[in-house]
């Protein structure tokens, strides 16, 4: 069976598990044995100081980057160093730290790219099964318009994605990932560079996705947001897992305070 044909239904306690993940760039170690589990159906925050390797971990988990060693499981299935499109086909979607919209496509088209299996992506179907392609396209357009309505992007549906503002691009990335009906969603700093009102909105959207049964792992620096919406926190420092648990528990952890929280608390009190 091809990897792309594997379907997965998450049943266990953990949706995502990685063990001993390492990654070095030209001798510089970015991830150094990161090991953690992401509980199914919950919102987990991945926090840590700059350079801790959070985005590299997200890149490895989503298949955008190969790890040097270590294993990754989605549910019970080992997917270590699978290609990005195979991992996505299993139902793991991601957003990017710096928004990566498909700039030449419209907002609506950005969403229409996302559904996993589309009859119209086969050359044979385009010419010999046009009815099926049209029906499916109709259903996808319908669903995409609904999602755009939910995320407040409906009025921008015919704009090229490159014309959107930073906050709108963040929303577009999330709505595009949602369009793919993922089981697991990796969000890389979804609140970065976003105004406070929109932060609240995005937080609400993420809670809604959790309510729908989605497992979410988000890299986030805003500890207020982490406290408000996340069920579980993983602290990464110097490429390794420093601690896991609730944020309130981690505030009592000296190592965590020293490596990250103290730094942030100090910074916030000086503002």
């Amino acid at each position: 069976m091809r990897k792309a044909d594997v379907s997965l239904s998450l049943k266990g306690e953990w949706a995502l598990r990685c063990e001993g993940i390492t990654k070095a760039f030209m001798g510089v170690v970015a991830v150094n044995g990161a090991t953690f589990d992401v509980p199914r159906g919950q919102i987990t925050a991945l926090i840590g100081p700059n350079g801790a390797g959070k985005t590299t971990v997200v890149n490895i988990l989503s298949g955008s980057m190969l790890s040097d060693s270590g294993t990754e499981h989605i549910g019970e299935l080992e997917v270590s160093n699978w290609e990005s499109h195979d991992i996505a086909s299993l139902g793991l979607m991601r957003t990017f730290q710096l928004s990566r919209e498909l700039g030449g496509l419209t907002v609506l088209e950005n969403l229409l790219v996302a559904p996993k299996i589309q009859a119209g992506e086969s050359l044979f179907n385009v010419f010999f099964r046009p009815g099926q392609v049209r029906r499916e396209e109709g259903d996808n357009v319908n669903r995409a318009l609904e999602i755009l309505q939910t995320y407040g992007l409906y009025a921008l549906r015919d704009n090229r994605a490159r014309e959107l503002s930073g906050g709108q691009k963040k929303l577009l990335e999330i709505s595009r990932a949602v369009m793919a009906s993922p089981q697991i969603l990796l969000l890389d700093e979804p609140m970065a560079g976003v105004n406070p009102a929109l932060i609240e909105k995005i937080g609400g959207y993420i809670l809604d996705l959790k309510a729908q049964g989605m497992t979410i792992l988000m890299v986030e620096h805003n500890l207020n947001v982490v406290e408000q919406i996340c069920d579980h926190v993983i602290v990464l420092a110097e490429g390794r897992t420093l601690a896991t648990g609730l944020l309130s528990e981690l505030r009592e952890n000296k190592e965590v305070v020293q490596a990250y929280l103290g730094e942030v608390i100090d910074a916030s009190t000086t503002r």
């Binding site: 499109h85 919209e101 088209e109 790219v113 385009v126 049209r134 357009v141």
Partner: protein, 341 residues
């Protein structure tokens, strides 16, 4: 007057032929983002193979070539196109799997040079530097065409083929497959993260585009009756690039305009001008310079081309829907009335 008439139809032939070539390169570069600097190599493969299968066995022809099947039109043309596609699979397997953008472009241009040297020097393949000649004029026997009357007839046939290929290409570019091509062009990491098998889609774009290249090449050798390495110097690829950049990358109508402006008016029209006394071939060089200048001017001032890529509006997408999905229109109306727009 008669001469002008034939000149005009020669220009018409090149207009449509380069339209076909531009559509092929556009699906690779304009739609999928593959910088195929070996494109002219695929045109040459189409031309040589079409010529070689049209010719009789090489024994006694004074030429050296493989095949020699006496194959009639349009089967010879299809074989040329399909061979170019098959070669594209080989090239894609070597280059597309591991290489991206600049490195891919470098490998492809090197490949074009290697291919050129092989065809130019390995005589048993396609008659070396002399190339193939005396290729039978298609339909000439059936329609009892003379050398002169063949020109307008074949120009019209080429126009008809171009329109068929335009229809086919429009179906592809408007489909979800075309949208996935453009997603890969815009950001292949994102496309892969959305579950798209980038390599497979790029391979599909290479296959389609190279088929068009092969057909375009096949038409050239049948129109002129000959084809040799001087007709496809690796730099010729950039003429096709200029056609699509001037006309409008990602816009099929723009490609026809680009073909008219660049290939017809700039490349071929001056070829009919009388030579400048004492400076034989100067017009050709001025032509090449003008193409370079035009390319730079367009990239600087109007990179989107004369007719830019269309924005595919939601209204057009909803129009394509079958009756069973007409509820989208209801949905749209509801949103327009009370939505958050």
């Amino acid at each position: 007057m008669t001469q002008v008439f034939y000149y005009i139809f020669t220009l018409v032939f090149f207009l449509f032929d380069y339209f076909i070539l531009a559509m092929g390169l556009n699906i690779q570069y304009g739609e999928t983002g593959i910088l195929n600097f070996a494109y002219i190599g695929f045109v040459a493969i189409g031309a040589y193979v079409t010529g070689a299968v049209s010719l009789p066995d090489s024994a006694g022809t004074g030429q050296h070539y493989i095949l020699g099947l006496n194959m009639p039109f349009p089967f010879n043309l299809l074989v040329g196109g399909l061979t170019a596609s098959a070669f594209a699979v080989l090239v894609a397997l070597i280059s597309l799997r591991r290489l991206r953008t600049d490195y891919l472009a470098m490998v492809l241009i090197s490949l074009s040079l290697v291919l050129y040297d092989i065809c130019n020097n390995f005589v048993p393949l396609f008659n070396g530097a002399d190339g193939l000649y005396n290729v039978p004029a298609p339909l000439a026997g059936v329609l009892k065409l003379t050398t002169n009357s063949f020109i307008p007839v074949f120009a019209i046939v080429t126009g008809i083929i171009a329109m068929i290929l335009w229809f086919v290409m429009s179906r592809i570019t408007r489909s979800p497959l075309g949208r996935t091509f453009r997603a890969i062009r815009d950001d292949e990491t994102v496309a892969a993260a959305l579950g798209k098998n980038v390599f497979r889609r790029q391979l599909t774009a290479m296959l389609i585009g190279s088929f068009y290249a092969g057909i375009g090449g096949g038409l050239i050798i049948q129109f002129g009756g000959s084809f040799n390495p001087s007709a496809w110097l690796p730099g010729e690829t950039f003429v096709v690039f200029t056609v699509i950049i001037v006309g409008g990358v990602g816009n099929n109508i723009g490609l026809l305009v680009g073909s008219l402006l660049v290939e017809t008016l700039l490349v071929h029209l001056p070829a009919f001008l009388p030579a400048i006394p004492g400076h034989a071939g100067l017009i050709e060089y001025i032509d090449a310079m003008l193409i370079g200048v035009l390319l730079m001017v367009m990239l600087w001032f109007r990179p989107q081309g004369v007719i830019p890529e269309r924005v595919r509006k939601s209204s057009a997408l909803t129009k394509l829907m079958p009756v069973s999905s007409a509820d989208v229109l209801v949905h749209e109306n509801a949103l327009n009335e009370g939505g958050n727009a």
